[in-house]
Symmetry: C2
Subunit: 368 residues, 2 copies
């Protein structure tokens, strides 16, 4: 089976991780945690970075932190078709989610639908599949609104020339095994606001303040969301490969898109970039008109190609089904959408095989 | 500085971890996750084991799971002098904590103080510093009470000939870097009850049921608490060394205790094992009569010996200070208690140096 994703570890890519093991610094302290933070600080222009054991944990830090400052903003505007880990930490923290339907062009939140009823609420942005929402534009439109970003799929992308995430009050990234850059499991919480940083730091490390008076006296409730030095060392190697990974993915994305547009222009569609943004090219997705994902899946499974569906509408999930919201576009995208293998080391001949099978599937559909 | 703890990685101990890296299975799947589960299943006699990214996460799974079955038991009896990660996940899940003071002999919960007012509540057991509470005895005494165990410090210990944890409805362990066996960061949730297992499994893996109908449709709220294959591989090497580690620690504990009893019998005291139990010998602790930990700390710091205080009473922590409970014994223990370095590779001459300094400190105290 051709997997939908696998991480990119060419020869030597894991040498820092071997070195971290050799040093026996395998737990929550060690030089690679610092080295990674330094590299990320250069990219994002802030020292307020907390490395975590998952993107979900980083989102939880965002949920805890936001509500400390904006007690009254526990009413959160969210997209309605994202990975559940974007919503769950906010549900856990008692937020009321106000989902807005997706936009057929971008597959992201349709911000034209942010209406008067949403004013005064905080807004959670998610960059679906790496397609970047233009947050600077939105901030100019809604100047007094706190913005936070689940940038777990967006790392590597940009808006108005700045790395995604950096226009928000806080943002998160994921370094899970299926992300462009991975630490195995892992993530990061990032902010430009000292107060947010200190609050998140406290919850991250068992409720101990950064400048705790007495070790083992805990100032507040907390969790253990620490990344390990080995995970950081894996990530350190990945950061060196960042340009190479993005380049390789860009080539695959371009090959797919130009082929599919050439052969099936009227039968398929793609998530399109918003003006002023550059995608992180996380996962290659397309919509196949009149397709049903569960049928497509069977077809591709039978040809040894793993696929993924587009994220389902929020109300499809057991614990979120009572939420009332429009899901018209999200429904279409999760029905017609399909995510194809697009990992950096995907060979050209395998890409060709996948493209051939996609064209075959779409061709069969049009005969029905 | 002689550290209070460091993990035991003799030559070759991390060879499986190097192998996991070499395989590039560095994320949430891989053979070492299965191998570790098999080894642990032999020790604990159950297949219902969930490997996590921390002991705190494992405790959170216990808190989520317990309240699903025992809605009315969100009133939880807890010890009043343990590491905060035993309490916090229950606080997060809305439990009301009913702390019971420590017992001067064992430094654990004083179960003679479990009174009529506690009947009908669930009981959380914690094995402080590895000194094991006799849970089988307690279960006979309170037959209709759910018991859960934070066995994070107890792994390696036993009660009535059975490994600690195994007499409870659910238990957790920690594989943090300062534990007898480590995976770097990590832990496990363990149960003998299928329903508990399935509930915990769901929360552990983003709310997907073990037998989910449709991938990416999530049945319930969840988190990402997964251990990585690299962490599991570190742990796999540690499990092979388990007897060696326990043996080395036992020798250090015995040397300390016999020396201190010989030289200072009336001036010091130790956590004593409950009848029918065997300690995991996690951390060596002693009480020094009339000592104040913060003064002791200064003394040992100045001689290059890192120490730790005994866990503070629950009401010393910022977010738990409103809880009303007796803390008389816990206060004395956290004032007079001190935890000394006792890691497996601690050399004899270093032990001798530490013992000399302890005797010196206690001698100085008696001159005052």
């Amino acid at each position: 089976m051709i997997p939908v994703y696998k991480p990119y570890f060419p020869k030597g890519a894991l040498r820092y991780a071997h070195d971290a093991l050799a040093s026996t610094w395998v737990s929550s302290k060690g030089k690679y945690l610092n080295k990674v933070k330094e590299k990320l600080a250069e990219i994002w222009g802030t020292e307020y970075i907390i490395l975590t054991n998952s993107g979900t944990a980083a989102n939880h830090l965002m949920a805890r932190t936001l509500k400390k400052r904006y007690i009254e903003r526990r009413n959160l505007v969210v997209p309605n078709n994202v990975y559940v880990a974007a919503w769950n930490p906010f549900v856990m923290e008692g937020y009321i989610l106000n989902p807005i339907d997706a936009f057929k062009e971008t597959w992201n939140i349709d911000y034209e639908k942010i209406g008067e009823e949403h004013w005064g609420k905080a807004i959670l942005i998610v960059h679906n599949l790496g397609n970047i929402v233009n947050v600077p534009l939105l901030r100019r439109k809604y100047p007094n609104t706190p913005f936070i970003e689940d940038n777990c799929e967006g790392f590597g992308g940009s808006y108005e020339g700045k790395p995604s995430g950096t226009a928000s009050d806080m943002f998160t990234v994921s370094f899970f095994g299926n992300k462009n850059l991975t630490s195995g499991e892992g993530g990061a919480f990032v902010t430009y606001d000292e107060e947010f940083y200190l609050e998140a730091y406290k919850f991250w490390g068992q409720g101990m303040r950064l400048e705790a008076r007495t070790r083992f006296i805990h100032d507040d409730i907390g969790h253990n969301y620490r990344m390990t030095n080995v995970e950081a060392a894996i990530l350190y190697g990945q950061l060196e490969l960042m340009d190479e990974i993005q380049e390789k993915k860009r080539i695959i994305f371009d090959r797919y898109a130009s082929k599919f547009i050439t052969y099936m222009e009227d039968l398929v569609y793609f998530p399109l970039p918003s003006p002023g943004t550059k995608s992180s090219d996380w996962m290659f997705a397309m919509g196949i008109k009149e397709s049903e994902y569960y049928i497509a899946k069977k077809f591709f499974d039978s040809h040894g190609i793993e696929t993924r569906p587009m994220f389902y509408p929020i109300t499809r999930h057991g614990h979120l089904r009572e939420i009332r919201c429009e899901t018209e576009v999200a429904k279409i995208l999760s029905k017609e959408g399909i995510i194809l293998p697009s990992y950096p080391s995907l060979r050209e001949d395998t890409q060709d095989y996948i493209m051939k099978k996609v064209i075959e599937y779409v061709g069969e559909l049009t005969l029905l």
